[in-house]
């Protein structure tokens, strides 16, 4: 099992999907063991690939560009060839590790969480397909396969967000997610075709090489990069496409963990990281990524402050993190972005699964109805705290290393650096807030509190494992750790494989950012723990700001109004036009004209011989005149 066999990875969960779909209802336990077995096997198979990769890396050094393997899918000889193939390099390895591990944790967790669900087998089938698609997406060596998997990822998220399909809200949320991301995908597909037009290939590496060689026309490359980014923005919930992600928590909580940590939303980050050389070649390409990322970080940090639904707070924190990753990409530091993605996957999955554990125990998800769960659910409480602090960026949890790495990359860019620093205390604030309101203080809903209990084994073990990784995954950046684990070159090189960029640690940054994080933390602790009345005062004092934030800057409302009035309005107009003008006037009009002509002409049928005779004579004369005039 080496890197060239990586195509096997998506096929295992895909096979589980097919088996569950066809035979699920007839299998014991609806076949969940098949899904988990396939997932575990996939996770296991990632390791030989990682070892093979680090071997190659230590042999070839930074020159090693990855391994590819592909097969033909369809061909119009001489004109078009579509291939399916895999390409494994550093970015892929990071994604493979994240996707398979988080998927496995989510599937194990769902054993208890989804128990008794009326569509339990179907849930596992779609989870498997979700992971399979995401694996295919990160392994794809060409844009066609990437788009193929990209859309399947979208489909699976649609199905899973809408899993509780009897709820109107779930139906609407799933539709919103699919259509919003689909709009971005229009850009992605056009970009892929445009790039093909100038290079004659869909292969990503070949396209990058062609772009660097200058064979792609500048305006085409510019357009493609912008359109490509639209696709990434849609999937990664960047402004103005961010609206679908908070609503996506209508799905079962394990699905949220999967979407936010390992699949779906990181696809956009992955795509930009993968094609970053193209962005670098376009004037303003990286700046666009930077601007969008920064704006998104800011907006989501603000909205995260005021949300009261535990899952919604975490959802906005994801948008916040994604924005940060785009900021890193925007300044040309894919290593920092991928490091953040890697560590983020663990603590974000942890946070969502922790939230799921709370919901499972109390059947509540509004922080106004929670509180005081610390003693009832110690494991959930501790692990959630670890996740929240890591998200906040507290030293020396994994989020800290990744966040500081991004800050370091921003050093040359003073303005962006300062703005990013500003979001740190905000993030720390709302993560502390949600933790305090959920686990500490007085129970706000005694009934829910009374029934609360620690979650079963299959749920807390994934929490514990993820919490453990949240502690240690940041250490990946130290080569010594990698060597100790038996990777010849150290695993830091997995992330920093081919660029001058290496891991930096600047003490000044670390202290400064940590102080900011502590400031946010302390403020939230003070407001929500020590003086619980303060938040109401703050809301009253900053009423306009609060209203703006709690209404999500009115963006959702504006979109809804546009859809209802403009889009559907135009549609109704066109439909009206089609019925009344094209059909009733045009088509029926032709019919009525014929009928009317017949009505007029029928009076020529008098039945009197002299009239007909006259007609014949006039006709003959007329024809004769015509004939003569033509002849001469």
């Amino acid at each position: 099992m080496g890197m060239t066999d990586a195509w096997l990875l998506p096929l295992l969960p895909a096979g589980a999907f097919v088996v569950l779909l066809l035979f699920g209802p007839y299998l014991p336990r609806k076949g969940d063991w098949i899904a988990i077995g396939a997932m575990a096997a996939t996770f296991g198979l990632v390791f030989p690939i990682i070892f093979d990769f680090t071997d190659e890396l230590s042999r070839h050094g930074a020159e090693f560009a990855g391994v590819a393997n592909s097969t033909q899918w369809l061909e119009v000889p001489g004109y078009l060839e579509l291939r399916l193939g895999v390409h494994v390099d550093a970015i892929t390895i990071v994604m493979l590790a994240v996707v398979t591990f988080v998927s496995l944790m989510v599937q194990v967790y769902s054993l208890a969480y989804m128990k008794g669900d009326s569509r339990y087998g179907w849930f596992y089938a779609v989870l498997s397909l979700f992971t399979a698609s995401m694996l295919a997406l990160v392994l794809a060596d060409n844009f066609l396969l990437l788009y193929f998997a990209w859309e399947l990822v979208g489909l699976c998220s649609y199905l899973l967000i809408g899993h509780y399909s009897h709820l109107r809200s779930a139906a609407e949320a799933s539709k919103k997610a699919f259509i919003t991301t689909r709009l971005g995908d229009v850009g992605l597909l056009i970009a892929i075709i445009l790039l093909w037009r100038d290079t004659g290939t869909f292969n990503i590496q070949e396209i990058i090489a062609a772009a660097q060689a200058g064979t792609i026309r500048t305006e085409v490359l510019t357009a493609s990069v912008v359109l490509l980014f639209l696709g990434a923005m849609g999937k990664s919930a960047q402004f103005p496409f961010h609206v679908w992600l908070p609503d996506a928590m209508e799905g079962p909580t394990p699905v949220s963990a999967l979407i936010h940590a390992a699949t779906m939303v990181v696809a956009g980050v992955y795509l930009v990281a993968r094609t970053l050389p193209l962005f670098a070649l376009v004037e303003g390409g990286q700046e666009l990524v930077l601007a969008v990322g920064l704006l998104t970080t800011f907006m989501s940090a603000g909205m995260g402050l005021v949300m009261t639904d535990i899952k919604r707070v975490i959802a906005y924190s994801t948008i916040n993190s994604l924005g940060l990753m785009f900021v890193a990409l925007g300044v040309g530091a894919p290593g920092a972005a991928m490091l953040y993605l890697f560590t983020h996957a663990f603590f974000k999955a942890l946070l969502f699964l922790g939230a799921g554990s709370v919901i499972h125990a109390t059947d509540r998800q509004e922080v106004d109805q929670l509180g005081g769960l610390w003693s009832k659910m110690p494991i959930t409480g501790v692990t959630f705290a670890v996740g929240a602090l890591s998200m906040a960026g507290l030293p020396f949890l994994s989020g800290f290393w990744a966040k500081d790495e991004i800050l370091h990359a921003l050093l040359d860019n003073r303005g962006v650096f300062a703005l990013t620093l500003l979001t740190l205390p905000v993030t720390a604030f709302y993560m502390t807030r949600v933790f305090v309101l959920t686990f500490l203080g007085e129970p706000k809903d005694p009934e829910a509190h009374a029934h609360a209990h620690e979650s079963p084994l299959t749920m807390w073990v994934p929490l514990a494992l993820l919490a453990g990784l949240t502690f240690v995954s940041g250490l990946i950046v130290f080569d010594q750790v990698g060597r100790a684990l038996g990777f010849p070159g150290g695993i830091g090189e997995i992330i920093y494989a081919h660029e001058p960029e290496i891991f930096h640690f600047s003490v000044g940054n670390a202290i400064g950012s940590s102080l900011l994080v502590l400031l946010g933390l302390a403020l939230a602790w003070y407001i929500y723990m020590l003086r619980p009345g303060t938040s109401a005062v703050a809301v009253r004092t900053f009423r306009p700001v609060y209203t703006l934030l709690v209404n999500k800057f009115y963006i959702d409302a504006v979109y809804q109004a546009i859809v209802d009035n403009v889009v559907l309005g135009v549609a109704r107009m066109v439909a009206w036009f089609d019925r009344n003008v094209v059909n009733d006037t045009g088509v029926d009009g032709a019919g009525y004209t014929t009928k009317f002509a017949g009505y007029l002409l029928k009076y020529q049928q008098t039945g009197r011989l002299p009239n007909y005779a006259l007609g014949i004579v006039v006709g003959v004369i007329a024809l004769a005149l015509v004939a003569f005039s033509i002849k001469g």
Partner: protein
């Protein structure tokens, strides 16, 4: 074994079945059903055989050829004047397969027809014979004969077995829709007829044999000016049957009024006759005319895509939505043909097949619901996926194929059309991609309104699909998946022929 008798059989079997049905007393409706389903099965088998026994890179232009002289060397007719000349190339082969699939699925779905089912199936069989005839004919005379044979039974099928629609603001009776559909299509065949005769006279070869005329055309036999005048006759005439804007209004009204299997066959297969005619008569006979007129066709095709999709978005009736969606999706066929490059034309033929199976599936599913609920107003439903999970899943597959989800047939076809269009008209290609996004809007809106959300207790009595409906639907889904996952069997056949077309480069 490749023999023209296979193709002859696809035409003869439904005709013989029609005769057999005439002989069965109408008091045995089950015998009638058995004959119909049996015929459907045989036709499916024959077409499957014809498709897979068709050899790629055989070096021959046509396979399964058969030529029987009917009239020759009389009056203005020379050698091979009018012959029953059958044969398929890489474009005909998938079309024959499509017809076989949809016919079989249609007979399975029609199992529920109670009212005069004998007469219904007789007409259906005549229609099917006509369709197979068009796809297999290599003689203009018979081509046109079969074309008309396929169109005319629609009048009775819709008028007698159809259903009328009443909306708050307007209504469409089935008689009106039947009349409109038939008159528009027959009217549109007048220019085709004129074109055929003009071609016959202009060539001076005294034959209606298409391969002979194609060879003549390829040598530059037809004057470019003549081509520029005649090509639009074929383009518009055949285009109307393909749902060409602004002559498309027969299609939504007609398909909505038609009984389920007839909608399936008409939207699934008959609309492809139009596109097929544009290839056979237009592009192959008049390559220079095609080149001259294609900018117009690609513009109209793009309008079809966007206009159809936007109209579909405003529909509240399941079947009208599917009807307008057909108008939209046939636009991709027209766009692909009009690119005149191998990728685009390949995509167009793929889309002909893909749209055929997926729209047949959609109409079949609408029929499953309408037969029980007697209404098609989406907003009256809700939570259907809980009541009828199989039905919802099948409908969802059709919908996802139609919005171009990779892994299903629509993506393969549309991707080729997009790539082809981008080669020559990037702006129109971008509009085409946008059309696919609009499709997602109306398809998902339908799912959200009718399939998801709380179940409406009014529909507690609805039953999921019957065994026959399940079989028919599964058959269509199998081919949607086959093309979506393994497109090569289709593309290999189509591309080889497309690369030979004189106007395509």
């Amino acid at each position: 074994m490749q023999t023209g008798y296979i193709l002859l059989a696809t035409i003869a079997v439904p005709l013989l079945a029609a005769v057999a049905l005439v002989l069965v007393p109408s008091r045995y409706p089950n015998v009638v059903r058995m004959i119909a389903v049996g015929t459907g099965f045989v036709l499916f088998g024959l077409s499957l055989y014809a498709f897979f026994a068709y050899q790629v890179s055989s070096g021959k232009d046509f396979q399964f050829e058969l030529q029987w002289v009917w009239i020759e060397n009389v009056g203005f007719l020379g050698d091979n004047g009018i012959t029953l000349h059958l044969g398929i190339d890489g474009i005909g082969a998938p079309m024959v397969l499509l017809t076989g699939i949809v016919t079989f699925a249609g007979t399975l779905i029609s199992n529920k027809i109670e009212y005069r089912n004998k007469d219904y199936f007789i007409l259906l069989m005549l229609l099917v014979a006509g369709v197979f005839g068009v796809f297999c004919s290599l003689d203009m005379f018979f081509w046109f004969f079969f074309y008309e044979l396929a169109v005319l039974p629609m009048y009775l099928l819709i008028g007698v077995w159809g259903s009328s629609s009443v909306f708050p603001t307007f209504s469409r009776t089935k008689e009106y829709s039947a009349l409109k559909l038939t008159l528009v299509l027959v009217g549109a065949s007048v220019p085709i007829f004129i074109g055929i005769f003009a071609t016959f006279v202009e060539s001076g070869l005294g034959t209606f044999d298409l391969p002979t005329l194609w060879a003549y055309a390829e040598q530059g036999g037809f004057d470019p000016n003549f081509q520029k005048i005649i090509f639009p006759l074929f383009m518009i005439g055949c285009g109307v049957l393909a749902g060409l804007w602004p002559f498309h209004t027969w299609s939504p009204d007609g398909h909505v009024a038609a009984p389920t299997a007839v909608s399936m066959l008409h939207a699934g297969v008959l609309m492809k006759l139009g596109a097929f005619g544009i290839i056979r008569l237009g592009m192959q006979l008049m390559p220079e005319g095609a080149e001259f007129w294609m900018p117009a066709l690609i513009t109209l095709g793009t309008i079809n895509v966007i206009y159809g999709a936007i109209s579909a978005m405003a529909q509240t009736d399941f079947k009208y939505m599917v009807g307008y969606s057909s108008v939209s999706h046939m636009g991709y066929v027209l766009m692909g043909l009009a690119t005149l490059n191998p990728i685009g034309v390949n995509g167009a033929v793929l889309q002909m097949f893909s749209h055929g199976v997926m729209t047949a599936l959609m109409f079949a599913m609408v029929g499953v619901l309408y037969d029980q609920a007697h209404t098609r107003e989406m907003s009256l439903f809700g939570g259907l996926s809980q009541r009828m999970p199989r039905f919802a899943a099948f409908f969802a597959v059709a919908g996802l194929a139609s919005l171009g989800l990779p892994g299903l047939s629509g993506f393969v076809a549309e991707f080729n059309v997009f790539v082809g269009t981008f080669q020559t008209y990037p702006a129109l290609g971008a509009l085409g991609v946008l059309g696919a996004a609009i499709t997602a809007v109306y398809i998902l809106r339908m799912f959200a309104v009718a399939f998801f959300g709380p179940a409406n207790p009014r529909w507690d009595g609805l039953k999921d699909m019957s065994r026959f409906e399940l079989a028919g639907g599964a058959l269509l889904i199998a081919f949607i998946l086959l093309m979506g996952v393994f497109p090569s069997p289709f593309v290999d056949r189509i591309a080889e022929t497309v690369l030979r077309l004189p106007s395509v480069s």
